[in-house]
């Protein structure tokens, strides 16, 4: 089943065009990695999918489960099953992680016509999910991301993903700032959530995450366009040779150099 289809997507941020016609197809059950150097537009792509303000689509379209995604509010996208794992998860002082997640889950459930979970049911439900990323009780009861280490924040993102059970997970630089142990835990969590009816888009700068999570397809985003797609071997090649050879290989658009 086609989960996501991006056609000729052009996106402007503060009047600068960042994406110059991105095309991408992701099917349920697949894991796609989007790689590219800094400033190539990876995070922009992730944010546009989630519906962040200030990212203006000037051309092209995005279909999610066959529906036009662009007019949807960010919260409705989330309720329809899109999850964005943030590169920099924000802190919300005074709001416990538990309360935050319960509110989120129940908003999603209400949208889908399901009953809200009460406190007891919710607790039972997350107990299972906590195991997936080795989440301890302490982190659950603390304010959302407040005072969390970099690793704890990323782990919390994956934990939230496990709780909210999205259909399409977009993970923006989930590996950045993680030591090797944390990386392993996070990757384990992501792998545990792989399934036939779920698709994952990993946005990453480095190849090392892909040692733990094997993607079906790797795409290279350069100067706002996907210039090459291939198998996981390509990621290794990229690590070896950098992105330079692709830049030369590709016809570089003039505005990309400015």
């Amino acid at each position: 089943m086609r989960m996501l289809e991006i056609k000729n997507l052009h996106v402007k941020v503060e009047n600068n065009e960042i994406l110059h016609g991105v095309n991408l197809k992701v099917n349920a059950g697949e894991v796609h990695a989007i790689m590219g150097p800094n400033g190539s537009g990876k995070s922009t792509l992730a944010k546009v999918l989630a519906g962040r303000d200030g990212y203006v689509v000037t051309e092209g379209e995005i279909l999610y489960e066959g529906k036009n995604l662009l007019p949807m509010l960010p919260e409705d996208r989330a309720r329809e099953g899109i999850f964005l794992g943030f590169q920099y998860p924000v802190e919300i002082p005074g709001v416990s992680n538990m309360y935050f997640l319960k509110t989120a889950l129940n908003s999603i459930r209400t949208y889908r016509g399901l009953d809200e979970l009460d406190a007891m049911d919710f607790l039972a439900y997350i107990k299972e999910k906590m195991k997936i990323v080795d989440m301890d009780d302490g982190l659950i009861n603390r304010a959302v991301n407040e005072g969390f280490s970099g690793g704890e924040k990323k782990r919390n993102e994956i934990f939230q993903m496990a709780v909210l059970e999205p259909k399409l997970a977009i993970l923006d630089e989930t590996d950045s700032g993680l030591d090797i142990d944390a990386l392993r835990i996070v990757a384990q969590g992501i792998n545990a959530l792989r399934s036939e009816d779920r698709a994952t888009v990993l946005v990453t700068h480095y190849q090392r995450l892909l040692n733990y999570i094997v993607p079906d397809t790797v795409h290279v985003l350069l100067d706002g366009r996907i210039v090459k797609s291939g198998s996981k071997e390509m990621a290794l090649e990229l690590e070896d040779k950098g992105y330079g050879w692709l830049e030369e290989e590709t016809l570089v658009r003039p505005e990309a150099n400015s």
Partner: protein, 482 residues
């Protein structure tokens, strides 16, 4: 903040829920203020001579004052004190002996306000004294409390039935010379609540007063006096609402608390006077003097306030820590939206040894709201080992509002320990987007973030008030960004 903006704007169209007017026949005296008016008020209330003399003394002092204090960071056109009514009361044919005799329209009003006046609300465990414009309408649970020796009644009743206590304590914490509004209140106050907890008694229920301003162009001047004798404890709640009116209405109250040895008083306020409309028209001027005296050793007075209403709030509930080891606390949430102005904070005066005070102030400014924290901590010469902890946080929503902090600290004893923390933050687009991305609407996100910000204060409130306060913040944030 476009997405957040639009949903907050939707919320903006919510009306002030308590803005209705009760059509009720009132007994109102002529406008204006002079000695005759004061005599008339005193006469209407059948007061003993000492009360009249006390009022007149306060009035004569008030006349010598130059005018309202000007140091506060609030701005408003001059108030014409001669244009106000100083007494307005629902016409009661006879003084009601029980709730059944109270005008059904009045009861309906309180019903609309959600006040548990009827005894069937026993489960709520709240004894209520309800003040409508100038007079106290009904006090519930009076008899039950009386069995324990607790006196909880309207101020007028206290003047009639417990004149000695009134004489002894009235003005003993906030003298009529304290400030302009305290002097005015002392001269014209028409009712309020009185509460006396005898030695060793722990009041078994929350005591509560609801204040309601109904009549137009009416000033409300009530006084609350709470005396907690040795070893006693009481928790007291105060709630306020007013109809929506285009003109500004004046509210100048005085609250005095006295805690003897080992006594504890907890005083919580949810102030939801009408804040004016979104263009700043109308609303209550809330000029209030609240002070507690920790007279005895080991006594404790704790103020918790949630200030969401009023066009202008001018209020500094404080504690005089006279008894050794006494404790003063002040927990405050003040929210200003649209054109509201708040200048609020506390005064902690450490006189006794080993006295401690805690100040936690959370200011939220939205719209064109202006929020000022003003606090004074004074450590006197004799106050060895005094400690103060102050924390003032400001949260800004949007870019047209402002937050100000004026902490004054005066230390005359070298053993004092003072801590002061302050922060200013802005609700971030990032925070709202993060919540939205998890399926939470931007409106719910703002409310969640603000409530998180206020958590330290809300947890000091009695349970049912905490819930009410959270809801209130949601409604008060209407139109808050943009």
């Amino acid at each position: 903040m476009n997405a957040a903006n639009s949903s907050i704007r939707e919320l903006a169209n919510k009306e002030y829920k308590y803005g209705f007017v009760t059509e009720i026949e009132t007994d109102t005296i002529p406008r204006g203020l002079n000695e005759d008016i004061i005599r008339l008020i005193s006469e209407k209330k059948h007061e003993p001579e000492f009360m009249l003399q006390w009022r007149l003394k306060a009035f004569r002092h008030w006349l010598t004052l130059e005018g309202e204090p000007t140091w506060a960071n609030v701005h408003y056109p001059p108030i014409d004190y001669q244009a106000l009514y100083y007494y307005s009361a629902p016409k009661l044919k006879n003084k009601p002996k029980s709730l059944d005799e109270v005008d059904p329209q009045l009861l309906e009003t309180y019903e609309k306000l959600g006040i548990p006046l009827r005894e069937r609300e026993l489960l709520a465990g709240v004894a209520v004294d309800a003040v409508f414009d100038s007079i106290s309408v009904a006090t519930t649970f009076k008899d039950k409390l009386a069995e324990l020796g607790i006196i909880f009644c309207s101020f007028s009743d206290a003047v009639q039935n417990h004149p000695d206590l009134v004489k002894k304590y009235l003005g003993s914490v906030v003298p009529h010379t304290d400030n302009f509004f305290a002097a005015l209140n002392s001269a014209v106050f028409s009712d309020g609540s009185f509460c006396y907890i005898p030695k060793g008694v722990r009041c078994p229920m929350e005591l509560s007063t609801y204040f309601r301003i109904n009549a137009a162009s009416t000033g409300q001047f009530e006084r609350t006096l709470i005396v907690a004798e040795e070893g006693s404890q009481v928790s007291y709640l105060e709630g306020c609402t007013a109809p929506m009116r285009d003109e500004n209405q004046l509210h100048a109250a005085v609250v005095e608390l006295i805690a003897m040895d080992n006594a504890k008083i907890k005083y919580s306020t949810v102030q939801n006077w009408y804040p004016g409309d979104k263009n700043g028209k109308g609303g209550i001027y809330n000029f209030v003097t609240k002070r507690g005296l920790c007279k005895g050793v080991n006594s404790k007075i704790s103020w918790t306030q949630v200030e969401t209403g009023s066009a202008i709030t001018w209020k500094y509930p404080g504690c005089i820590l006279q008894g050794d080891n006494s404790i003063g606390e002040f927990y405050s949430v003040a929210l200003t939206n649209n054109y509201q102005q708040a200048d609020t904070g506390t005064k902690m005066i450490h006189i006794g040894k080993n006295t401690r005070s805690t100040i936690v102030s959370k200011g939220i400014s939205a719209g064109r709201g202006q929020n000022t924290y003003r606090g004074m901590v004074k450590i006197m010469k004799r106050a060895d080992n005094a400690r103060n902890y102050s924390r003032c946080d400001s949260l800004l929503l949007g870019d047209k509002c402002s937050a100000h902090t004026f902490p004054y600290i005066e230390v005359k004893n070298p053993t004092a320990q003072m801590e002061h923390e302050a922060s200013t933050s802005k609700i971030g687009e990032d925070q709202i987007f993060y919540c939205q991305q998890r399926g939470i609407s931007s409106e719910a996100a703002v409310s969640m973030i603000v409530n998180g910000f206020c958590k330290e204060v809300f947890r000091e409130l009695p349970m049912e008030f905490a819930v009410e306060a959270q809801k209130l913040l949601g409604v008060s944030l209407e139109g808050s960004v943009g």
